[in-house]
């Protein structure tokens, strides 16, 4: 049982190493940049897959959590606190080691948050927000749930776009690298490219490991039962509201961690990361992967994000994801990476009723 679950994970890790080796031998290491970014988007997608595919709750606002993570850590690690350094709270934070000084672009000293402290603050904020709004939001179903999460995403987008402290339409830049360990640093430096590839995918591996355990536990089974028939699950003693909330919070945590790391990797973040289109894109990838198919989501997330980041879709980038949504949901609602895809298509063409999604 156990080995069957972890075997794909080992293959996945081997593939990650293989890809890195191939790029290094073929002199195509520049691909690693997009692969690293794709990894962070995959992290969002893994969480969303648990939410949509397993617990059966749609979220059209997950870019919001990504943005909360990214923007908060960007803000805390770039906002100069020097003018306030005599403030009691600030001096306490400085003494406690949450702050450090860093040279700005012009050689001046700025007093800013340590990336570690900023990261924890950002992720905790996202988790807290998810916890608070998750209660009422997840009571909703169907269209109401879709609109409420869409509304949440739009609010975050409007706020990051409207706040001058967050850079408005330009976003925040000059975000310093994030030294996780003395020898590991999240940064866009060319020399750090390989280690950043492994940091990013390492996070995905951890997230997938945790998710696999969850899916194949009694909790995962309970989540699927909520998806299938929520009232029946409730009648079987499952606290459906609580499990939905926990899954929502977990997926928000994954998204915000991705936001924090990608922001340090890119050295900044812009409002487009919070846009509805980003949220919809995540949903599209979960859908192509086959909804309740974690590996499908990871494979599709890597592939589509990589192609998109390499610019293969040109100006049709968003349109491609829109088309994917329509085509998948019309013809193969169980996703592309599915054993029975041929059977599905046949059933569709012969016009048989198929209980879908």
């Amino acid at each position: 049982m156990r080995s069957r679950i972890y075997l794909p994970l080992l293959i996945f890790i081997a593939a990650l190493i293989g890809v890195q080796q191939i790029t290094s031998y073929t002199g195509t290491a520049y691909y690693l940049t997009q692969l690293t970014m794709a990894a962070y988007y995959c992290l969002v997608i893994v969480g969303l897959c648990l939410m949509i595919g397993y617990a059966g709750q749609i979220s059209l606002g997950h870019a919001g959590f990504f943005a909360i993570g990214g923007y908060l850590s960007a803000f805390l690690t770039t906002y100069d606190l020097t003018p306030m350094k005599d403030d009691r709270i600030i001096s306490f934070l400085a003494k406690a080691g949450f702050l450090w000084t860093r040279e700005d672009l012009y050689g001046g000293q700025m007093l800013i948050f340590q990336p570690w402290a900023a990261c924890i603050a950002a992720v905790l904020s996202a988790v807290l927000i998810a916890y608070v709004i998750g209660g009422p939001v997840l009571k909703l179903k169907g269209h109401y749930l879709a609109m409420a999460t869409l509304g949440f995403g739009t609010i975050v987008y409007r706020i990051v776009l409207g706040m001058t402290a967050l850079g408005g339409a330009d976003g925040l830049s000059d975000v310093p690298p994030f030294k996780i360990l003395p020898f590991l640093e999240v940064s866009g430096e060319m020399s750090d490219r390989v280690q950043n590839y492994y940091i990013a995918w390492g996070l995905v591996v951890v997230a997938v490991f945790l998710s696999l355990n969850l899916i194949h536990s009694r909790i995962g089974r309970a989540l699927r039962s909520i998806h299938g028939a929520e009232d029946a699950a409730n009648a079987m003693g499952i606290d459906t509201a609580r499990y939905k909330l926990y899954t929502f919070v977990l997926s928000a945590a994954f998204a915000s961690v991705a936001g924090v790391f990608l922001t340090h990797y890119n050295g900044g973040i812009g409002p487009s990361e919070a846009s509805i289109m980003k949220s919809v894109r995540y949903v599209a990838i979960v859908a192509v992967g086959g909804m309740a198919n974690l590996w499908g989501a990871v494979v599709m997330g890597t592939l589509l994000n990589f192609l998109s980041l390499r610019g293969y879709f040109g100006t049709y980038d968003d349109a491609v994801f829109g088309a994917i949504l329509i085509v998948i949901m019309l013809f193969v609602p169980r996703g592309l990476l599915h054993m029975d895809i041929v059977r599905d298509l046949k059933a569709l063409l012969s016009g048989r009723d198929e209980e879908a999604v």
């Binding site: 049982m1 490991f209 009648a235």
Partner: protein, 253 residues
């Protein structure tokens, strides 16, 4: 001793008084049936007891403790399991997985320890699976364990749903029209299963339209009409009850 005690339960939907002031009890280890014409409030009553609806007035006592107004999952945890009039099995899950959901409330693994994949949870899960298989064997459906539950025949689905409820190890089982949609042979099979369940000491409250089934297996019958209790007696006495006969045969007095 009364296991379940329903006292003066009422529920109104807009202008419709679905249940009004209904009281009755279910004794430990007994089969009690709820009958009445369509719209008499039987399913509403079921939903009030199992927590899907909150009563306007009245009380529901289980083991002498009030349970009205609790959420369905809390009521299930106290030992009341139910089935549904329209079968509510979990799609895309095998029969055994469906039944294992019934074992959920006996599990301990939390969200975080499940994520970390701590060793104990695998043992717990194996135990849940074994217990679920035992229940399916008891109902004679262990051969269906690995089939997708919603692809089974109607009669088999009813039995899987029953197994799922039994896996909760309830003190009281609520069966909402367990024979609906079944043919005569399947109905007879269902009747024998229900008796078998009662013989294990589980009390049963059953809503059913099939009169021969109800008369054969019930110890006592409550008759509802327009949300009010008309009779509450043994099958024989109910059959002779004037008001009941009038309701069912529409005879003039």
């Amino acid at each position: 001793m009364r296991l379940l005690d329903v006292r003066g339960l009422s529920k109104r939907f807009g202008g419709l008084q679905a249940v009004s002031g209904v009281s009755f009890g279910v004794s430990e280890g007994a089969i009690k049936a709820l009958i009445g014409p369509n719209g008499a409030g039987k399913t509403t009553l079921f939903n009030l007891i199992s927590g899907f609806l909150t009563p306007d007035t009245g009380a529901v006592l289980f083991h002498e403790r009030p349970i009205q107004g609790l959420r369905p999952y809390e009521i299930a945890r106290r030992g009341i399991a139910r089935t549904f009039q329209h079968i509510r099995l979990f799609p895309k899950m095998t029969s055994i997985e469906n039944v294992m959901i019934g074992r959920h409330l006996h599990g301990k693994t939390g969200f975080v320890s499940a994520m970390l994949g701590l060793p104990g949870i695998w043992r717990e899960d194996r135990g849940a699976k074994e217990r679920s298989l035992e229940v399916m064997e008891f109902l004679g459906i262990s051969g269906l364990a690995d089939q997708e539950a919603t692809s089974l025949s109607y009669g088999q689905q009813r039995l899987v749903e029953l197994a799922r409820a039994l896996a909760c190890e309830p003190g009281l089982l609520l069966l909402d029209e367990p024979a609906a949609g079944l043919n005569m042979r399947e109905t007879a099979e269902m009747a024998s299963m229900i008796s078998k369940v009662r013989d294990k000491g589980i009390a049963i409250l059953i809503v059913e339209h099939d009169m021969s089934l109800v008369m054969n297996i019930s110890d006592e019958i409550v008759v509802l009409n327009y949300g009010e209790k008309v009779a509450d007696d043994t099958p024989l006495a109910v059959q002779k009850h004037k008001e009941v006969v009038r309701i069912y045969l529409g005879e003039e007095e």
